[in-house]
């Protein structure tokens, strides 16, 4: 922990840091690649829609000696060609889903199944699901999603700024696309539970992005009044500053879900638990990733196209160039250093750079006086 604690401290001061903004193109590339894979997967494999969407019947049988695969054949035969899905429940019971059955067909199938599986008809439980049901739920959910997106963009645009709102929205869509794509690729059944999992992500992804943006907003408040850092550098620093929080939160959020997915779902095989926890796991991970690697760099890109920021970047560059030309004077070069972003900060004997340890302290001290006053 002491090492981690120190790392936290150094990240906070900007002594160390990963250049998220500088290397953003790589991460954009990776994200685009993943997103395209997801979309292709979605287009080629399609989603495995559960019976809540296709309609059908669910039969739950008591303990039976028949194996799941055997039961599946029998169920498909009994249902006359409709697709069946069989799950083993605890205690030898079976859960058989047959899509496309309606009320009239269900009863003979139930009797047939009972005979095949050698269990009393009365104990075979039948639950019918209408095809429109899942659709209705999902349609309303999409409607809610749409309204929410509009509202949240408005909210973020007011309490932050429109650039952040757009970046957050893009990150959100990115997360949702990846999650849906994973469903298509893994072939898990899409149930109303999955839809709910997706909606959880929606909340969480934005939540995470907002936490990072909050620190970015704080850091970028009086940016035009100084000439030491460009917006990208400030953004990078604020990501690094909240990195410890992001990592900790993500771990704490993912651990229980991973428990659900790998222990709960893994031990029991397919089931609603799996459907939801996979959505949650992928979505939470994507959400944490996108708020750091996608959303914030996007804000920085959008910001940098602003004339004010362009002018600022120019001023910063000019100042650094002047400093470099003057040789290593005490003040200026140090100001440019230790942001953890520019390549110039590396080697010790480059003309622009001051001694690392000292520069770090000085820089930190300054950042602080101006920073805390707000």
């Amino acid at each position: 922990m002491s090492k981690l604690g120190n790392l936290g401290a150094r990240l906070y001061r900007g002594e160390v840091g990963y250049d998220f903004i500088g290397k953003r193109k790589i991460w954009y590339g990776i994200s685009i690649l993943i997103t395209i894979t997801a979309i292709v997967g979605l287009a080629v494999r399609g989603l495995n829609m559960g019976i809540e969407f296709s309609g059908g019947a669910v039969f739950t049988t008591p303990k039976t000696a028949v194996s799941a695969t055997e039961a599946q054949h029998k169920a498909e035969a009994a249902a006359g060609g409709h697709q069946a899905m069989v799950q083993k429940l605890g205690g030898g019971a079976l859960r058989i889903q047959i899509s496309g059955l309606d009320t009239k067909q269900a009863v003979p199938v139930q009797e047939e199944l009972a005979k095949d599986l050698n269990v009393p008809v009365k104990q075979v439980n039948t639950q019918l699901v209408g095809p429109s049901w899942g659709e209705q739920i999902a349609n309303k959910a999409w409607l809610g999603l749409g309204i929410f997106m509009v509202l949240v963009v408005i909210y973020l645009a007011i309490s932050f700024e429109w650039r952040m709102a757009i970046a957050a929205l893009i990150a959100l869509i990115h997360d949702l696309t990846i999650t849906v794509g994973v469903y298509a690729l893994v072939g898990f059944e899409v149930t109303p539970g999955t839809v709910i999992g997706l909606l959880t992500i929606l909340g969480y992804s934005l939540y995470d992005t907002v936490v990072v943006f909050d620190s970015l907003k704080e850091a970028g408040k009086d940016i035009t009044k100084q000439t030491r850092f460009t917006y990208s550098e400030i953004a990078n620093r604020s990501i690094n500053g909240t990195l410890v929080r992001s990592i900790n939160t993500t771990i704490v959020a993912l651990l229980p879900v991973a428990g659900l997915l790998f222990v709960g779902g893994g031990v029991l095989g397919a089931g609603m638990l799996n459907d939801i926890s996979l959505a949650l796991f992928v979505g939470l991970a994507a959400g944490a990733y996108s708020s750091i690697f996608i959303a914030t760099p996007l804000v920085s890109d959008l910001k940098n196209s602003e004339p004010q920021m362009k002018a600022l970047a120019k001023r910063v560059r000019a100042k650094r160039a002047a400093a470099a030309a003057k040789g290593a004077s005490e003040e200026d070069p140090q100001d440019g250093v230790a942001v953890g972003t520019s390549g110039a900060a590396e080697g010790d004997d480059a003309a622009v750079v001051g001694p690392p340890a000292q520069s770090a302290t000085r820089d930190r001290g300054r950042g602080r006086t101006s920073g805390k006053r707000r």
Binding site: M1, S2, N6, G8, A9, Y12, G55, G90, T103, N125, Q127, L128, V129, G130, S132, W133, I137, K140, L143, G144, I147, F148, V152, G193, I196, L199, T200, G203, Y204, L206, Y207, V210, V211, D214, G241, T242, V244, R245, N248, T250, I251, V252, A253, L255, P256, G259, L260, F262, V263, G264, G271, M272, I276, L280, L284, T361, G365, R368, T369, K372
Partner: protein
């Protein structure tokens, strides 16, 4: 400068941390106590976890409307049923259309299946008919008597007995249908409206009779023969009455069998009621009343019928609210009611008022339904899925505990205590909401609650990291705890607001399971804020006074050395010295 200002502000939040802690502890004790008091120790589980009952309803054409079974009507009917069985959206009841003419209703175990069956099975052909004459509900013709006070309401009664499908059900509550006591007055809720002269309304205007003389002989005979004393005969009478045309006078029974009536043609139809709800009238001390809002058309019709009735004498100044051929309520009219709304008062219990309100607002199903099939379903996912989910969640939580302790050491205690408080609050509130509003927990909601651990823990992590950053700036713990708070607080509020917005929008827009989930999300988000403000922050303030934390014991998680503070270097900086003096 910010520093001294903060210094002034912080005592308020810092001042009585103990008191805040006591407050939230009292709240917890009260909730747990309430849980034991109400006798429900576990949350109600949804149909996927606990099983329940499944009804299959077959749509039937109503007399005179041969082509009513179509997709639009089926969906409307399903929507109305959904609202009836899942009024608040959190009971996890499921209503689905199946095929072209079936509706399937699944209700979780623990819900009153009988009540639900009545709610969905009641086809609710609702109408307001003027009372022509009434008498006690036995066969022998008796002179017309003014309505006597009905029995007092019973918690269980639904008030919508006498539906066509009622034949099979047991009449447990039938004798206590005091849900709709007679002789209550209808009062105008908009007193300002001056009585306008009644204008003849369209065809449906009832020719209100002036006495027995107006009642056709055939109907007189029917009335004399009508026997309302047994369930079967009432059901038969109800079926007959429901099958009559709205423009014909009918004979009908009170749904509890205490009265029978000759009723005029339908004056206002159920579809004319825009909304109705039960409210508790504390101002005039009328107890529970039912408020009705009519559509503009319905308001006119209602003004007409009440205008006519108000001039009559007992019992012809009464109108009957007829549901599927049975009279559920027969309020007396004392004046013409204009303005498109009215209240019904008198002797309601909360339950009976709500039942009547529900029936009035959702009453007009466009179709009649017959219960085809009723089966008990076992938990679709089985107890073991829940069990596995809980075990898995527990394992995940144990890992979270290990991680937090390893990383935050002493601070982890604060985080874990906060998570614990949050868990207790969530559990007790969910449990108490079971009986209160029919909240039921399904598997997605359980998963959502487990995922919410992340959002809840994040609030502490944001705050801890801010405190540690302040310490890295060279502050001692006590100022660090107070100075870190305003910024952490803002971050927590902004991000939780986004979560809450998602929950609120989904709750309003969606139905069924998603709505239940949105409720869980909103609840956990609100509780997150409550716990951080009322528990974590005061606890931190208190702990900052302890030597163990204040001096940065290596196991406190706040050891300045481990956090990378380099005191000698910063002491040299002028600005820091100034700040520290200000804060000291």
């Amino acid at each position: 400068m910010a520093a001294p200002k903060k210094g002034r502000r912080s005592p308020a939040s810092q001042g009585k941390p103990g008191r805040t802690l006591v407050l939230i502890l009292i709240a917890m004790v009260a909730l747990v106590g309430g849980m034991f008091y109400s006798g429900t120790l576990t949350p109600r589980l949804g149909i996927d976890l606990a099983g329940g009952t499944s009804f299959t309803l077959a749509a039937q054409n109503q007399p005179g409307k041969p082509n009513a079974i179509n997709e639009t009507n089926m969906n409307t009917a399903a929507g109305i049923m959904e609202r009836r069985v899942n009024g608040l959206g959190v009971s996890e009841a499921e209503v689905q259309t199946q095929g072209s003419n079936h509706i399937i209703v699944n209700i979780p175990k623990g819900t009153d299946a009988k009540q639900a069956r009545q709610q969905v099975g009641t086809t609710a052909q609702l109408g307001f008919r003027p009372v022509l004459t009434t008498t006690a509900g036995t066969k022998a013709p008796e002179p017309t008597t003014p309505p006597s006070a009905g029995g007092k309401g019973d918690k269980n009664d639904k008030g919508d007995q006498g539906n066509k499908d009622g034949k099979g059900k047991d009449g447990k509550d039938d004798g206590k249908q005091g849900a709709t006591p007679q002789g209550r007055a209808v009062t105008d809720s908009l007193k300002k409206a001056p009585p306008a002269s009644p204008t003849p309304s369209p065809s449906a205007t009832p020719p209100v009779g002036g006495g027995d003389a107006d009642i056709p002989a055939a109907l007189q005979k029917q009335f004399a023969a009508l026997d309302c004393s047994t369930k079967e005969s009432r059901a038969a009478a109800g079926e007959h009455a429901a099958g009559s045309k709205p423009s014909d006078p009918v004979v009908a029974c009170k749904d509890d069998g205490t009265q029978k009536y000759v009723l005029g043609p339908v004056g206002v139809e159920g579809t004319d009621v825009k909304d109705a709800k039960a409210v508790f009238d504390a101002q005039q001390g009328q107890g529970w009343i039912v408020q009705m809002d009519f559509t503009s058309d319905g308001g006119k019709k209602f003004a007409d019928i009440t205008g006519k009735l108000a001039t009559k004498t007992q019992p012809q100044n009464q109108f009957a609210i007829v549901l599927d051929g049975a009279v559920v309520s027969d309020p007396r009219v004392s004046q013409q009611l204009n303005g498109g709304n009215a209240t019904i008062s008198g002797g309601f219990t909360q339950q009976s008022a709500q039942d009547l309100g529900n029936m009035l607002s959702y009453g007009a199903l466009p179709l009649s339904f017959k219960i085809d099939d009723e089966t008990t379903v076992t938990a679709a996912l089985g107890g073991e899925q829940l069990h596995a989910g809980l075990v898995a969640g527990a394992i995940g939580l144990a890992l979270v505990v290990i991680y937090l302790v390893a990383y935050y050491r002493g601070l982890a205690l604060v985080a874990l205590a906060s998570l614990g408080v949050s868990a207790v609050l969530t559990y007790t509130i969910m449990t108490l909401l079971g009986p209160a509003i029919g909240f039921a927990l399904n598997l997605p909601a359980v998963c959502g609650a487990i995922a919410a651990i992340g959002i809840t823990a994040d609030s502490f992590i944001v705050y801890f990291e801010r405190i540690r950053d302040e310490i890295r700036d060279g502050r001692t713990l006590r100022p660090a705890v107070e100075r870190g708070w305003p910024r952490a607080r803002r971050t927590i509020m902004v991000s939780d607001f986004v979560s809450f917005l998602a929950a609120a929008v989904l709750f309003i827009v969606t139905v069924g399971k998603v709505q239940g989930f949105a409720f869980t999300l909103g609840l956990t988000t609100v509780l997150d804020v409550v716990v951080v403000f009322l528990f974590t922050k005061p606890l931190m303030t208190l702990l900052a006074r302890r030597k163990f934390f204040a001096e940065g014991h290596p196991w406190s998680g706040l050891d300045p050395k481990r956090l990378g503070v380099k005191p000698p270097l910063r002491r040299g900086r002028r600005s820091i010295v100034t700040t520290e003096t200000k804060e000291a």
